[in-house]
Symmetry: C2
């Protein structure tokens, strides 16, 4: 398919998913293919096969197709460890690619490194490429970027560089509390925006009371019939409120960009708007792709 | 066994365990038997059989043996819901026992209620009997009782009554973070007392940064080779420190009693001692029994 048109392949390879974009020489997407063969389900010797299965239709025998990948594929438990660039630094593009050995002669694989910080110790892997994409489109941006998710990142950007960042385990705490704690009996898949907003304020102001307020959701559901939809929004609000209290240095008085999926961006936007911050939004999948395209053009220059 | 001597049976029936004490008329323990048939593993029609299996050797055909039980056996998902006594109130003894119907003519079962609070909403079930035991032995105690565990309780006692209390999900958060979050790769079964104490202080002072500091353990283990034993103690310290910040009103300037198992009491004692509090210790299993004995003597008076 697309014979002669396929110039390279962009790959966003996270813990749970593998997404490949079949790309033209000028950075257009010719096709997109996905699989659930994320890093978390593969041993190091299974990555090449998982990739080839997904993209072999787009490879030719007489051309070595470059594959540029970012994300957990470059973790210690990934295909080949791709290391970290220490901040302050520009988000990595072509510099310091890691190339795993491949058996298939039709591909050459380039894995982007993550970024790390020593004081305090912190790491990111995958988000640096979303940031790279945003900065490729907005080269003069100065301010903070929030990348909400399992491990939400708050990132300070100045003069095209990642100056510092902090990771908050907000999404993961929400998930494990909802699934594995006594609160699993008190939450559901619903949402109550008003309860969420109220709870964000409370979470910001009463960080000390977090673990008490968590149990309070259970007690309220036992004693007062607190509805699961309400409890879910409150749980999320408490955790995002706690994060906003800790990340105040990033958002207070700064231009803020949120990069994420639509639903989680809605929640963060509502929480930040209440604090007087008017965040700009950018879609995470789009930003990863723009970042990978920027890396491809850097690679071509070399 | 102990024919003619068995006057009643004391039962501590929690989520995971069922403990029965075979008792003489004057409150001595003749024997103790345990099973893992906790409330969490039983449907409401399976409680009687689980109990009879454990105690039938000690029952006689010509005497109805009273069985006095406390704990999650009285929860909504238990044998029969035993309700709550609202604070402020003395911890329940014989008042408001709930009696489930039984098929076996040799027993009569009395389940103690829990305690509840409306502002803020909170509940306890099982701890009230430990408190009752402590107050039976120390009727003039005024101060705070800390009952550390999955859901740690801080309880204000005045003139023999539970005035108010707060539950912190400290133990449960430690468990689910250790088992189900990314930190499962960074912790083990070990302990480092110095790291714990340092982390308690940090957790108390930097509540806002909790979810960031949690991820920091992962980053430190990736970047700096933080040892799992060290990470485990730090994780515990962060969560107990956060709790102590939230529970300050209970321990600051008050006499504090800790009721628990030895290992968890060691940790709380060390954390509180660092704050200038010299807690008194009492064993949780002993206090439950003393509380059940006090209930038995109340029942006999009726």
């Amino acid at each position: 398919m697309f014979q002669g048109e396929v110039a390279w392949i962009a790959v966003d390879w996270g813990t749970s998913n593998l997404r490949a974009y079949i790309m033209s020489a000028n950075g257009e997407v010719l096709a997109q293919v996905n699989s659930t063969k994320g890093m978390g389900s593969l041993n190091s010797d299974q990555f090449e096969l998982a990739l080839i299965e997904l993209i072999s239709d787009y490879l030719c025998d007489d051309f070595i197709t470059p594959v540029i990948a970012c994300g957990m594929v470059g973790a210690k438990q990934g295909w080949k460890e791709a290391g970290y660039i220490s901040v302050p630094a520009e988000p990595p593009k072509s510099t310091k690619f890691t190339q795993p050995n491949v058996n298939d002669p039709r591909i050459a694989v380039y894995i982007l490194p993550g970024m790390s910080q020593s004081m305090p110790a912190d790491v990111m892997r995958g988000e640096e490429t979303q940031i790279s994409g945003y900065l490729a489109q907005n080269p003069n941006f100065n301010g903070s970027i929030c990348l909400p998710g399992t491990h939400t990142k708050w990132v300070q950007i100045s003069a095209g560089e990642v100056v510092s960042f902090r990771t908050f385990m907000t999404g993961e705490l929400f998930n494990i509390i909802s699934k594995h704690s006594v609160l699993r009996h008190s939450v559901d898949e619903g949402w109550d925006e008003e309860a969420f907003i109220e709870s964000v304020s409370d979470g910001m102001m009463n960080a000390n009371m977090l673990t008490n307020n968590l149990f309070g959701l259970r007690a309220s559901s036992l004693l007062e019939g607190l509805q699961p939809t309400n409890a879910t929004a409150k749980l999320s609000g408490m955790l995002i409120g706690l994060e906003l209290a800790g990340a105040k240095g990033f958002w207070l008085g700064n231009q803020v960009v949120i990069i994420g999926g639509n639903k989680i961006m809605d929640h963060y936007q509502a929480a930040l708007t209440q604090q007087g911050v008017m965040p700009i939004r950018a879609n995470a999948d789009e930003m990863v792709l723009v970042g990978l395209v920027a890396s491809y053009f850097e690679l071509k220059k070399e």
